[in-house]
Symmetry: C2
Amino acid sequence: MVSIVTVAKAAGVGKSTVSRYLNKGYVSEESRARIEKAMKELGYVPSTSGRSLRMAKSFAMAICVPMISHPFFSRFAERLESAVFEQAGEASRRLNQVIIVSGNEQERLKWLRERNLVDGAFLVTHEKFDPSSYDLPIVTVDRLMGKEVPVVTSDNYESTYKALLYLYEKGNREIGFIGGRPAERSEVMRRYDAYMDFTKEKGLPVHAFYEDFAHGEEMKASSLFLEREPRLDAVFATSDTFGFQTYRRANEVGYGHLDIVSFDGCMDDIIQKPLFTSVKQDIDALARSALGLLLRKMNGEECPLKVVVKTTFRKGDTA
Amino acid sequence: MVSIVTVAKAAGVGKSTVSRYLNKGYVSEESRARIEKAMKELGYVPSTSGRSLRMAKSFAMAICVPMISHPFFSRFAERLESAVFEQAGEASRRLNQVIIVSGNEQERLKWLRERNLVDGAFLVTHEKFDPSSYDLPIVTVDRLMGKEVPVVTSDNYESTYKALLYLYEKGNREIGFIGGRPAERSEVMRRYDAYMDFTKEKGLPVHAFYEDFAHGEEMKASSLFLEREPRLDAVFATSDTFGFQTYRRANEVGYGHLDIVSFDGCMDDIIQKPLFTSVKQDIDALARSALGLLLRKMNGEECPLKVVVKTTFRKGDTA
DNA sequence: GTGAAAGCGCTAACAG
DNA sequence: CTGTTAGCGCTTTCAC
C-alpha cells in the first residue's frame, strides 16, 4: 500500500512534511510541488483508518430515521447522502460516510457511539430519547430536544396557515385536519397550532384527528376520520401518506367532493396522478442545512439553534 | 480511553492474551475469567479504528441502489441493515456498518474502495459496470455480472408463470405485460421470458411493453401502454410502481375492467387500498441470503453462485 | 520550514 | 498457553 512514507521518500522529504501538506500546514513551494508530483504518480490516497485511529474520529455520521422506507425519510436520507459526498472532497479530512439507522435508534446509536463509529448524528425520529445520554454532536429535523440541540425545520405554521387560507378562499367552510401527533416535542406540532388558530380566527368548526399514530397506520386513521366527520368539504393532511389515504378512502366510500392539501409533497414521482396539492418541503435545503449545522457543531463553532427552511405551495389536482 | 492495555493491566495479563481472548484464541480458564471481569468493570469496547488499521479492513460494506427512495430498494436496504446489525454481535470482528450508496455507483464505490472504507458491496443496480474494475467482494441482487459474481434472486420465471396462469384461469385471454427492461443482463428478464413462453404455449396474443425506462417513468409508460393496447383484460406488471400506475391510468381513462397482478408486492403499507394482487418477493430472505453470500465471499469461503428465494402469490383486490 | 520520534489500539509472529 | 515486540498509516509535539 502506498502510504505517506512512500510519498515522502519519492518526494525526498520527511513524512511529516507530507502530512503537513495534507493538513494545509506550512510547506514551501518547492516541497509542495514535489509532493504533489509524487502523489499523482503513486496514486496516493490517504488512509481513513490511520486518521481515525490517530485522531479518534471516524469521519462518519449517522442518520436516524424511524423507517427508511417512508417516502419523506428516504428522500431526506438521499439528499443528505449526496450533500455529504459532495463536501467530502478529494483528499480532505471532512465527513466521509453516512450510516443509516432505521429504527432502534437508542440501541444502534449507542453501539455505534461506543465503537467510535460516528462523529455525529441526525435525528429525524420521534422516538423517546435523552440527548444527554450520548456525548455526541446532534442535530434534529423537526424535533425539539432542548436548548443545546439545533433543529432544522420548515416554516410549518406559516405554510399550513397559507394552505388553509387557500382552501378557505376556494369557499370551503368545513375544513378537517388529519395527522400524527408526535410523541415528543416537535416543530411539526406547529401545523396543528396553525389549524387551531385559523379555525378560531375565521370562526370555523374544528374537525381535527390528531393522535399518535405509528407510520403505517395512516389508512386506518383516515377511514376512522372520514367516518367520524361525514360532512367535510376539505382536508389538510400533515403528510402525503395521510393525504393519499384520505383521498383513497373518500373515493372508496363515495364521500363526495373533497379538497385535499397535504404536507410534504414528496411523492410526486410515485403517485403522479392525482397530483396532490401540497405544501412542498424543500428536502434538499433541509438536508443541506442540517449538514451545515452538524459540521459546525462538530467543529465546536458557533451554531444557530434553529434554521427554518421555506416551503412552497404547489397546486395540483386535489384542491 | 480504555484500551486492550488497560484491560490487560487490570487483569494482570499481557495484552496479547486479551487480544487472543477477543479473537477466540487459546486462553486458560483462569485468564479468561479475569479478563472478562476486568472488561466488564472497565466497560471495555474494542476499537474499530485500531482493528481497521491493523487488519486493513473497514468492517463496513456498501449497498448500491439506483434510488433509495424507491419502495423496493429502500425496503431491501432496511432488511439488510437489520440483518447486518443482528450478526454484528457484541465484541465481534464481523461486519459492522452498512453504507448506502444511492446513485453514482461507479464514482462512489471507487471512492469508498480507494479509502478502504468498505470490505464488500451489494449491487442492486442496473448501471453499466465492470465488476473486475474493483477488486472487491461483490454480490448482486438480480443482476448477472459473470461467473465470479454470486447473485441472489427470486424465482422470477416460475412465479410469473404461475401468476399468468392465475389470470388465464380467471378467463382472461388478452393479457398484457409491462415492465422496465434492464440495461444489463438480469434475472429480472426471466419474468419476460415467462410471459413470452406462456402466451406461446396457450396460443395467446402478445401485448408486451418492455423497454428501458428509468425509475420514475412508470406513469408515462403505463399511459402509452394502455393507449397502444385498448383491448386488454389483464395486465402483468413487473413492479408495484408499474402496476399502480397502470391501475391509476386505467381508472382515469375509463378503460373498463382490468385484472392486474404486480411483481414485488412491497407497497402494502403505503397503498393499502386497493390491495394489489401480487407476486410478493421475500425481501427479508433476499437480504439475508445476500448477506450470507457476501460474508462467505469476504472470508474466501466456498460460495454458491446463485441463490433463488421463493416468492408467494398474494391475492388482493386487483385480480 | 522541516525532520525525527512518539504513539493512537490493535493483531500477529515469535520465543518461551 | 503466555508475554514481548513490531508495525499498520497517520498526526503532532519538539527541536533544529
